[in-house]
């Protein structure tokens, strides 16, 4: 190669590095601007426009779409969706926190294996998995038959098409997203800090409350963010397991965009969802600052 016989002057080294750097940065900037920034701006803009039969969007500019959310019907759906998503998040947290802690305490080899095991179910489309879940949950399905067979219940289980089913489906699909950031935080947690707390007189609970919990809070918030908001958007879970009475915000957005073709309204719903997310992200920044992670621009 010609490059190898050039003198290794600082200028040459810098030039080689510079080109690579420039190309890389260009690609990243371009991608994020085109596919992340602009689309979101478009949605915000769309939310202030009016519905049009042919072109989806038209002037005049209006805030009607947001006002429509004041309608008790939509408020009810939003709150119900929020409550289902919140219950999902709490269950994922309660189950996932000890899970992540336990996995982080095993040997290194086991850890990679266990985390891989967590992902494998995803290697079959989540829609397919939900059908299996439906099979299990149905009134004449597997769980019901098993429980009746064991004599634990007398009548077939009626969980399908209830709120419980939607929550169950959401927990099932989103559980690993709670575990991943928690696992990352637990592996970062220094053992000697936990020992120092004991050394200074704290029992297990006090150590957990004063040391472990504050230091894992960023992981908790990451996990909550990765579960709560997607939960509100996963319309297909509501479709398959919840019937028509257990809608998520995602169902509204989908039906407005794909069925009713009322883009501005769907966009407004999306913006509201995004605002909820922004509030939670602010909480995340506040908490990671508190535990001393000064570089809070690191991606999570």
């Amino acid at each position: 190669m010609n490059k190898s016989i050039l003198p290794n002057t600082a200028a040459n080294l810098r030039n080689n590095g510079r080109l690579f750097q420039r190309v890389t940065l260009f690609v990243i900037w371009a991608w994020l601007i085109i596919f992340a920034l602009i689309p979101n701006i478009l949605v915000v803009l769309a939310s202030f426009l009016t519905r049009d039969e042919d072109k989806f969007l038209a002037l005049p500019v209006t805030i009607d779409n947001y006002l429509r959310f004041v309608d008790p019907l939509y408020v009810k759906v939003f709150l119900h969706s929020l409550s289902m998503a919140s219950v999902t998040t709490i269950i994922c947290l309660l189950l996932g926190y000890p899970f992540a802690w336990l996995v982080s305490r095993t040997s290194k080899r086991w850890q990679s294996f266990l985390m891989l095991l967590l992902i494998i179910p995803f290697w079959t489309n989540s829609l397919v998995r939900l059908y299996a879940v439906k099979l299990i949950m149905a009134a004449n399905g597997l769980l019901s038959s098993a429980l009746i067979g064991m004599g634990l219940i007398n009548e077939p289980l009626q969980i399908l098409y209830t709120e419980k089913a939607v929550i169950g489906g959401l927990v099932y699909l989103l559980f690993p997203f709670m575990v991943l950031p928690l696992y990352a935080v637990f592996t970062d947690l220094r053992q000697d800090i936990v020992l120092a707390s004991k050394d200074l007189g704290a029992n297990k609970f006090q150590t957990f409350w004063h040391v472990i919990l504050p230091l894992t809070t960023p992981g908790i918030i990451s996990g909550v963010l990765l579960v709560l908001l997607p939960a509100m958007g996963m319309f297909y879970v509501a479709d398959i397991l919840g019937g028509s009475r257990n809608l998520l915000v995602g169902n509204i957005i989908k039906s407005q965009f794909l069925d009713a073709r009322d883009w501005p309204f769907g966009a407004a719903a999306s913006v509201l969802l995004t605002l909820t997310m922004a509030i939670l992200i602010a909480a995340y920044y506040a908490s990671s600052k508190r535990i001393g992670k000064t570089d809070h621009n690191e991606v999570a």
């Binding site: 490059k3 990243i28 769309a46 489309n125 997607p230 958007g233 966009a267 992200i281």
Partner: protein, 263 residues
Amino acid sequence: MTSTTISNAMKWFSRLYLTLIYLVLFAPILVMVVFSFNASKVGYTWAGFSLHWYYELFSNEAMIQAAINSVLLAVVAATVTTVIGSLTALSFQRYDFKGKSVLQSLLFVLMMSPEIVLAISLLALFLMIGIELGFVTLLLAHITFCLPFVVITVSARLASLDNSLLEAARDLGASEFTMIRTVLLPIILPAVLAGWVLAFTLSLDDVVVSTFNTGASFEILPLQIYSMVRVGVKPEVNAVGTILLGISLVGLLISQLLLLKKR
């Protein structure tokens, strides 16, 4: 000593807990696989071993095509995402440039955004540009939502990398690009591969983004299934799911064997 009996009990309790959760996680998968061989036409009760759902599946060309499309998309999306994402992580780690924090924040927001927000925003973009919905738009969408996850995975590895190794390479005369190619990349390869697997997983599993950003020219699995089973249960679904899982597991096995061979 009582302390050892307590810690033994803790050990068994934690094993039990982990096992239970994994069982629940895998139960539907198991059901899917087992019932794909179910002879019954109805679907809820076991009526004996049969391959007829697989035969039904193979005569359902649309479904097969959709499954192939999904896997293809996942592989391509994962590969492109891994390249862009790794380069991004590298730039964040090694270079200081204007607007770095803006980029990092954008990525963070991207990761936290619910998929549906991302999906409709991209739909708006594609329509505005005038692109026809199909493979390309879906690919672009998948790459976008997988990107932050790859960046995080590779960034985490880079953060714990020993810089003196890289400086040694430069000291011996390697250009930035050569150093990255011959020293840095080989060292962080496991993390890069982990990123690829993560992106592949997210893409294959996706339903939301796929619903909004593809068109009739490129059917993918979730939509196929959706349109088939709005009302009832079609057990071919179990067969196609089993096959997808099978393909991925075979892929995993092959990669493990290749890794072992290298050692």
